[in-house]
Symmetry: C2
Subunit: 136 residues, 2 copies
């Protein structure tokens, strides 16, 4: 069973066939699907599943903190099931492929106090850009 699904069951999340399929589709490493792609894959396993349900479910998973919304730049948001493991993204400027990466060091260290405008800074999101081996 998928890690995501397992965590959700452990949290007592109300389970339905639709929710299970969405959780299964999202499971794995380097998964960054759009809502529509999630729906397309879900339909293969459960033909009746509706787009609204996929949106509802994704929205709920994001609220629960189990899935992260990633806006790389295209128009549709992408959903990343590895919200629990802190990580950043490496995006290919050629084909758009996304990989999860784990940079070393404290990302907040680069922002000196005088650059913080009085903000309480709690987090940094980094998107590395470059070309993947196939596109280079």
């Amino acid at each position: 069973m998928s890690d995501l699904l397992e965590r959700l069951l452990g949290r007592g999340w109300r389970m339905t066939s639709q929710r299970r399929v969405v959780a299964e589709v999202l499971s794995g490493d380097h998964i960054h699907l759009t809502a529509d792609e999630v729906h397309a894959r879900a339909v293969r396993r459960l033909p009746e599943i509706s787009r609204s349900t996929v949106y509802n479910t994704l929205g709920e998973l994001v609220s629960l903190g189990e899935v992260a919304e990633v806006s790389t730049d295209g128009r549709a948001k992408r959903y990343d099931p590895n919200a629990r493991r802190s990580h950043q993204h490496l995006v290919c400027s050629g084909c758009g492929t996304i990989r999860d990466v784990h940079p070393v060091g404290d990302p907040l260290a680069g922002l000196p106090a005088e650059q913080r405008f009085g903000f309480t800074v709690s987090d940094a999101e980094i998107t590395y850009r470059g070309l993947c081996p196939s596109c280079a």
Copy 2:
């Protein structure tokens, strides 16, 4: 005259009243407007300007590398006129305010070779998140 407008004229960009107004609206520091906000402000100066022209113009400015698209997370893209000066963003999780910041050090240094998946990494985009003084 605005810096942006000046640079565009220097590049021999074909000038029209609509384009001038869009460039003027975008000028300044810490400016991060949506296409719709750009249109609203442009209409004040030039009532006939259409939304399509604003979109066309913004798209062209992005292609020229004079303006950057910033997807903070909401649905509409925001446009940042300071694409030429390398900088990153600090976003308030409360009210959404965006400030431009200039972190110290090489942002690519945090990504070790074994984390690069064979990519040629050329750039890093950082979004710092926190609460601004009013929201804290």
